[in-house]
């Protein structure tokens, strides 16, 4: 699918070589993100990528760009801070399901409430890969793993219904094994103004063999070919509340509303980092508030 573009960012390919297991779904996500960035024609000054910690986060070393390799679970608040400081940047989070739905779940909830203008791409492999195979928040009940040899007791999280109901203005799902469609979805997410959650089904060939490429291929379908209205919250919820006999791919929900930074008065004057710093003397009026003059 390699199309030729005028604005290829050579730096995107000037990095270390990936260290993922052969056959890992992360390769597909990696290739799709770079292709999407090239298709968008953005120079390195246009965006920053914040990575969580996990196999997904190891992508840090495989793309040369403005990158921030965060802590496990904390990419989202880092990204929110970056966006508020310089809202000209498109801020992308490359995170895992354990990372973003487990350790960082609280941050995700509140970033969505505020429609923080960040793009969260979740590598959802339903397992902890980098720590060699423990259960994840997305693992199904009964899932046997190194940390749950008797099987998982909890229900899995449903990140998509969570996002739809808690304020995300763009909710989509992609599949690492369908890169052509994934490139399109990443481009849509990156172009969306507001909080975008793109959950990417990612086979982990080493530690979660049940959810392999074949499992997904038998079940996925594209929403745009199935008469779906992404503007309807009710319809979107129905799509993500179904059992897994059919797994929807595509834009599940999309409705623009003012972003967080649009509603911060100070930012109306331009990006924070490019606003000139006040001369200390301009604070005389502030000191006056606390000053008492003798009678």
């Amino acid at each position: 699918m390699c199309e030729t573009h005028n604005m290829i960012q050579t730096n995107l390919y000037d990095s270390k070589s990936p260290t993922w297991c052969p056959g890992c779904g992360d390769y597909g996500i990696w290739a799709s993100l770079r292709t999407s960035l090239n298709q968008l024609g953005w120079g390195a000054e246009k965006y920053a990528v914040v990575y969580g910690v996990g196999c997904s986060g190891n992508m840090t070393d495989f793309i040369k760009c403005h990158g921030f390799h965060s802590l496990h679970g904390r990419a989202v608040p880092n990204a929110e801070g970056i966006k508020l400081a310089n809202h000209e940047l498109t801020v992308i989070c490359e995170v895992g399901d354990g990372d973003c739905y487990g350790e960082g779940g609280n941050h995700l909830l509140h970033a969505m409430r505020g429609n923080a203008d960040i793009k969260v791409l979740v590598h959802d492999n339903r397992v902890y890969g980098l720590t060699t195979g423990q259960t994840a928040p997305t693992s199904p009940s009964g899932f046997k793993s190194k940390s749950t040899p008797q099987g998982v007791i909890e229900l899995p999280v449903n990140p998509l219904s969570f996002a739809i109901t808690q304020g995300a203005s763009f909710v989509a799902q992609g599949f690492a094994g369908d890169t052509i469609y994934l490139i399109k979805l990443i481009t849509e997410a990156l172009s969306h103004k507001g909080f975008a959650l793109l959950n990417i089904l990612q086979p982990c060939v080493s530690f979660n063999k049940f959810y392999g490429y074949a499992y997904y291929k038998e079940r996925i379908y594209r929403l745009e070919e199935d008469n779906h209205n992404p503007e309807s919250k009710e319809e979107a919820l129905k799509r993500v509340m179904q059992d897994e006999t059919r797994i929807p791919l595509g834009i599940i929900y999309k409705k623009e509303r003012p972003t967080y930074q649009d509603q911060v008065g100070v930012l109306a004057k331009g990006t924070l980092v490019k606003q000139p710093m006040n001369n200390p003397k301009e604070f005389t009026s502030l000191l006056n508030i606390f000053t008492e003059n003798p009678l």
Partner: protein, 580 residues
Amino acid sequence: MINLTWKIGGEAGFGIMTTGHMFSKIAVKHGYKIFDYIEYPSLIRGGHNVYEVRVSDEEIYSQEKKVDFLFALNKETYDLHKEEVREGGIIVYNSDNFKLNTGEKERNVAIYSLPLSKIISDIGAQKVMENNVALGATIAILSMEINALYLIIESIFRKKGQEVIDKNKEAAKAGYEYVTKNPPDGFDHKLLPRKAEPQIIATGNEAAGMGAFVGGCQFFVAYPMTPSSALLHIMAMYGEKYGVVVKHAEDEISVMNMAIGASYAGARSMIGTAGGGFSLMVEGLGLAGITETPVVVMVGQRPGPATGMPTWTSQGDLQFVIHAAQDEFPRIVLTPGDINEVFWLTAEAFNLAEIYQTPVFILTDKYLLESHASVPVFELNQVKINRGKLISFEEGDIAENYLRYKVTEDGIPKRALPGMKKALFIANSYEHDEYGWSTEDPKERVRQVDRRARKLETFKKTISKQNVYGDTVADLSIVAWGSTKGPVLQAMKDIKGRSDKIKVNFLHITHAWPFPADCVGDFLMKAKRTMIIESNSYSQMGLLIREQTGFDIKNKYLKYDGRPFYPEDIQNKIMEVINL
């Protein structure tokens, strides 16, 4: 010398805090210096609240134990605090709230009954205005000018309209006139107006807020926690006017990480919290350390661990803040001792954070953060903004072979920002090479650890001196840090007032980390006797001094009951040690 302590107490809900703060302003309007101190439980309504204001025509550094004027709004205040009233003092009580037996007057203390509720209902005003009656009466008893109170009422209620202003003034006047018609017997303290320069009246939180604005803060993020919530309120109230983005985040983990994100992108960032909130930030602190992202962190100490005693004071987090987070990285810990130092060190913290590309702490406590003091107006032309080795966007757009973590002699590399065309790098929580790529190479690791450590060595050269107060040659040399400065200086002043023969000096540590070992060691080497004074039970600064200088300070005055030091107690300790 004029020295008077006015203390008001009652149930939460009366507006004790507002009333006390207004009295501080009234005193400053009369040309006096003030120091005030509040005590309240961790409740919103009910419970016993006390506000005391110490007023003097000379420099004062702390509250004192004795009271000249006790305003008892309820019986509890009277019972708890009547013994504190000095001979020649007065107790004014709300006689509509409780009755005193005539036999209560044993000592030379005037008792004055003020029917607050009756006065307020006679003029048809609301109960919430009783505090103005109380202030009006206070002013009359102290022979002060009622106009000072009118001016303050006008400024507080300016936005609420003339009617509200007039009604409040009427209440003040009613209290004032009641006392004029029924003057107290046996009390002759007066606070007559004096000539003086304008003064700032601020708490530590307010001074930190002013320091942050003036120091170029662009992004402030916090989660409320006593005793630093007021800093969030100040930043939120004035942020829009002065160009600061202020965010109340979902938790302290997010607070630290948002600040790091904003600072990585180039905004001067600050966070405010207490020890408990800082516990949640510790993981992120290490991220700031290894990515070399500047961030200013104000930690307000209160007794812990866990929830502890939320509205009381402590210096129990020194060792925690110095050592927080796994492994080693440079940090700077500043420990201001008074309102003036809070302002200047907060403003300077933004420079230090950017120059050394590392976290900088303002470590303070409830006592300093919530007590008001009057100080000369800060000279804004003394403020300098220094962004260190931050490169401009123009430079970053054309940079070739830029290395964010380049090994340099002073340890400090050039800092680029996202949004620059050419100066790319990875801010990496993993150990990394000069570019920022992850590495586990043993040589690269050592090079980066050593370089980061050199930043602190570079900084250390700039902090060779700490302030020493008192006699050059002394019988006793005191060491203290942070807010303990005030009570120690007050005790030294009071001792001098008693006898010139007692020689005491005092080293106050405002830069706790990196530890100014040479300066502290030098001071202790010359000392005849030594004593450390701090608000924790392990003597955390004492341990640090022993670790860093080898000196073991045997005389310790440690206090960890949540209450601040009192100069009277420090005086007693000084005499004890000298007479050993």
